[in-house]
């Protein structure tokens, strides 16, 4: 059996060679017409305004925080879902479903609390209020 690293090395070589050769060939073939319009930022046909480094509304922070925490909790559900049917067949419904329901209930209590305390309430700025009235 040949060394499997040969295949890995060949893949790496080909992976590098293809994009490099495409860049090289196109730079040989294409005509060069420098023009101002080509350098502009394309924003769906709009004339671009301002630069990319803007301040995001701080309220996104709470949303992002809640998302990160609850998003990663799903990771703990995957292995459970994977073995669910086999486990039910072996141990019965209660011992398999019960703990997960407790886990989800704790998460729901946390989410409900975050909701009630206003973590996901969007406070509109005065300017936005005026805009909606117009």
């Amino acid at each position: 059996m040949s060394n499997p690293w040969i295949a890995v090395g060949a893949l790496a070589l080909v992976g590098l060679a293809i994009p490099l050769s495409m860049i090289a060939i196109s730079s040989l073939l294409r005509p060069s017409v420098p023009e101002q319009g080509k350098r502009a930022v394309y924003e769906s046909g709009e004339v671009p305004t301002g630069d990319t480094r803007i301040r995001f509304n701080i309220q996104y922070y709470m949303v992002a925080l809640l998302f990160v925490v609850f998003d990663v909790e799903t990771v703990l559900i995957f292995p459970w879902a994977l073995i669910y049917s086999d486990a039910v067949a072996e141990f019965g419904l209660g011992p398999v479903l019960g703990p997960m329901l407790v886990f989800l209930a704790i998460l729901v209590i946390g989410l409900g609390w975050a909701w009630r305390t206003g973590a996901v309430r969007w406070v509109k700025s005065e300017r936005a209020e005026i805009k909606t009235q117009l």
């Binding site: 704790i106 409900g112 609390w113 305390t117």
Partner: protein, 495 residues
């Protein structure tokens, strides 16, 4: 024997109280009365305290009850420590009623305390490296937020930041150590790790030894031992004083119980000595921690920071329990000194919590932080100052409180286990500690009072917590015998 689920009642009391607070606070966010919040927290903590105390003293779990396929174990040691966590949490919850009365986010404060206490009680029961890591994080993450609770106070935020930075680093080191131990032994369950440890230590001494050393590093952070102690003075000084009390007593005890369980059950010294001699490591750590903690405490000008460094010194005394397991004097000598460590943490849970709560009382009166600010305080608040005097002398090891008995056991046990020099270093450090503890007492009782200082009112709940801690500390001088048997049995069961 008690049924499996019932054995988790102490931890369950913390969880249920925390979840109850979430539900209560969701009804009228931010407007729940402080009395309800403190009451529910104290009720949960007393529930945990009572359940663990009853199980412990009735010997219901003396054989050790394994749950969830051996992931958790409820035995004498876990119950003894859950008893400590319950008592500290109850004292802190009651004292906080006055301390956070005027502050926003009161409900979150109590929830975080209860969730951290849950993590600690799980740490006491953790019987696998996975549960150890998860429960340690459950105890740590709320603690970071608690230290930084005073959002607008620079000291609090700075303490929280430093605690978080060092905590995140050392928990990463801990989990990498766990992964190395898993790599060399193929299991996370402590009993299976112990079975494979001898072979792993012989086959891959480098990987296994590095893993154990990294785990010890992660645990040293939680117990505020040298060389991971740098966060402690800043975090304890910056945090609200009840939180400092909670962290320096309960969180430290939780770190120790985890260290005892992981090292004694997972890495028995006779089988891993070829790869890493952790008894030697702890001998070095104990001497360094005692000496650095006490010398740094002696140079402080602020009382809270002095207590923070003295708390590092006490971690050094408790480390003797692990450092003295040399095998000299047989298993009974080892059990004595290890049990003495546990008893010291129990007494420490009351006397140190009380001392920090006294500082909370002083912070509540807003009369300053240095020794001079305490001058003549006894004329205005004699009762509280009597309590503080008890805490100080008991911490120093004078026979006015339980601290004398537990220190005596500890040093006598060390001599019995053949490491008399550790006992000698401990005794010298205790003598030094008497100097800086008595500075507080001298300031309170002997110095002339500061002109123009008035104390408007005497907060009932804080007073109740301080006095309870003082009464229990004094009671433990003759009363420590109640827990003697339980602690020595728990230690013997581990060895």
């Amino acid at each position: 024997m008690i049924a499996g689920g019932l054995a988790l009642a102490p931890a369950g009391a913390f969880v249920l109280a925390a979840l109850a607070l979430f539900v209560i606070d969701a009804f009228s966010p931010g407007k729940t009365s402080g009395g309800v919040l403190a009451g529910v927290s104290a009720f949960g903590a007393v529930g945990a305290l009572a359940a663990s105390g009853v199980f412990l003293l009735s010997g219901a779990a003396s054989g050790g009850i394994e749950l969830f396929g051996g992931q958790l174990v409820v035995d004498g040691m876990s119950l003894l420590f859950t008893f400590i966590f319950g008592s500290v949490t109850a004292l802190v919850a009651v004292a906080s009623f006055d301390y956070v009365r005027e502050m926003p986010h009161r409900a979150e404060y109590y929830m975080l305390i209860l969730l951290a206490a849950t993590g600690m009680s799980l740490m006491a029961s953790a019987n696998s490296l996975a549960v150890a890591f998860v429960s340690l994080e459950l105890a740590s993450l709320p603690s970071y937020a608690l230290v930084a609770y005073l959002k607008g106070n620079r000291g609090s935020v700075e303490g929280g930041l430093k605690y978080f930075l060092i905590g995140a680093l050392s928990s990463a080191i801990l989990v990498y150590g766990i992964s190395l131990v898993y790599a060399s032994t193929g299991s996370l369950l402590l009993s299976d790790v112990a079975d494979a440890a001898g072979e792993a230590a012989a086959t891959y001494p480098g990987v296994f030894g590095t893993g154990v050393l990294m785990i010890i590093g992660g645990l040293a952070f939680k117990t505020a031992s040298v060389p991971f102690h740098f966060w402690a003075p800043d975090a304890y000084e910056g945090a609200p004083a009840p939180v400092s009390a909670f962290l320096s007593s309960a969180s430290k005890a939780a770190g120790f119980v985890l260290a005892f369980r992981i090292l004694l059950v997972g890495f028995p010294i006779q089988s891993v000595v070829g790869a890493i001699d952790w008894v030697l490591v702890f001998q070095i750590l104990a001497v360094l921690t005692m000496t650095i903690g006490n010398f740094a405490a002696a140079t402080q000008e602020r009382v809270k920071r002095m207590l923070a460094y003295s708390s590092i010194g006490h971690a050094g005394y408790v480390l003797i329990g692990l450092a003295a397991l040399t095998g000299v004097g047989g298993a009974s000598a080892g059990a004595t000194v290890l049990g003495a460590s546990m008893l010291h943490l129990l007494v420490y849970g009351f006397m140190n919590t009380g001392a920090f709560l006294f500082v909370a009382l002083v912070e509540h009166w807003e009369i300053g932080r240095t020794f001079e600010d305490y001058n003549g305080l006894a004329r205005q608040a004699p009762l509280a100052c009597v309590a503080m005097t008890v805490f100080m002398f008991s911490l120093a090891g004078l026979p006015v409180g339980g601290g004398f008995v537990s220190k005596y056991y500890l040093f006598a046990g060390a001599v019995g286990a053949g490491v008399w020099w550790l006992a000698l270093v401990g005794a010298i450090n205790s003598a030094l500690s008497l100097y800086y503890y008595s500075r507080v007492v001298k300031a309170m009782w002997i110095e002339e009072p500061i002109e123009g200082r008035t104390i408007a009112h005497y907060p009932t709940a804080l007073y109740a917590a301080v006095l309870t801690a003082a009464v229990v500390t004094v009671f433990l001088l003759p009363g420590l015998v109640v827990f003697d048997g339980a602690a020595f049995d728990a230690a013997a069961a581990l060895l």
